[in-house]
Symmetry: none
């Protein structure tokens, strides 16, 4: 059993809470959205919440103040008893790190938690397939490799390593060349792309402004 980190379970469905208690050794159960505040303040991150049950009139969970306050700092797995793609998209948009069926096998839930605990996002196969189909139907997006065109093959490699935050010695080590050579390539890259330093390069490579 992994997930040593404590988990907050947010639902007022007793049966669900009982099921989810098997997720990890340390599980706290709450019924009110405000529990997110204390959870965040206590330095915890992991949350599993039932989107259907903390009933808050007709509003959705992620319009609640407590959600908005803490969604950024927490890793929330949103579960729905009747998952649908739009709800999933909305949940992720609102800062949830994962979306799944609330009655999914406990092992699946645990895996989803492990994934979001490590900083990734978790999206079920169905929703992800739909996402892929959606972007596939309308993707005119090209020119992402715009920055790479004027560069030589070797310069591209060095530029990429630099753009993801590696140091010159690190790049040299990764490519099996000298740090001096890395500098030479980077100098050429800076010149060709008209940037001043590796940070500007990173922004260019990752398509920031």
């Amino acid at each position: 059993m992994r997930i040593p980190e404590p988990i907050l379970i947010l639902t007022d469905d007793d049966l669900l809470a009982e099921r989810w208690k098997a997720l990890a050794p340390a599980v706290i159960r709450a019924r009110e959205v405000e529990a997110l505040d204390t959870w965040h303040k206590a330095g915890h991150r992991l949350v599993v919440t039932d989107l259907s049950r903390p009933r808050i009139g007709s509003k959705t969970l992620w319009t609640e103040a407590a959600w908005l306050r803490n969604a950024g700092g927490l890793a929330i797995l949103a579960a729905s008893s009747r998952p649908d793609d739009d709800e999933g998209l909305a949940a992720l948009k609102a800062g949830a790190c994962g979306y799944c069926h609330s009655h999914a096998p406990i092992d699946t839930l645990r895996q989803a938690l492990e994934v979001i605990e490590s900083g990734e996002l978790w999206v079920g196969r169905a929703l992800l397939s739909r996402l892929l189909r959606l972007v596939d139907t309308r993707l005119p997006r090209a020119g992402l490799a715009d920055w790479a065109t004027p560069l030589t093959e070797r310069e591209r490699e060095v530029a990429h390593h630099a753009a993801i935050g590696e140091s010159n010695p690190g790049i040299a080590d990764a490519l099996g060349i000298t740090e001096r050579t890395v500098k030479a390539h980077l100098k050429a890259v800076f010149e060709k792309l008209q940037v001043a330093d590796r940070l500007q390069l990173a922004l260019r490579v990752h398509g920031v402004r």
Copy 2:
């Protein structure tokens, strides 16, 4: 160490193969795409492949006959030494079950394998975020509040300026404070966000992983 199932490693990069050997107790390494045939016939499912290295001219891996024959029956994790969104989309469309950085931490790769081994799909945070953004262009700040939450107001300002490539004197000038103060704020920012330098900070702020 989980993943009791044997894994096929497909790459002609010796260093990468060496790294990936730590993925599971049972790891078979191959250099040719045709290895997928025997792997599938032997009743195995898990494959990790380097998109860059089994060099097949200018063609991509998934236009190979061996890929097309087996992609449906295998669970393939495609890794790229220079991941880019278009390549990832293409790989998933071609039947890969996951797409990630070939030099990602071994634990991340293992987790990805566990996910696709259980029948799900794996997509890294960066690509997934972009997918979500593509589907709903106004994905506001699912990542902004993330890095900003632990910071104070002033630290946020400094972090933002640093993340768009401004130098310390530049930031100091922009905020009307001393360069020394900028450094102090940045030191706190680095500490709180657990990053080593301003480039890592920029990547975090702009949602790049």
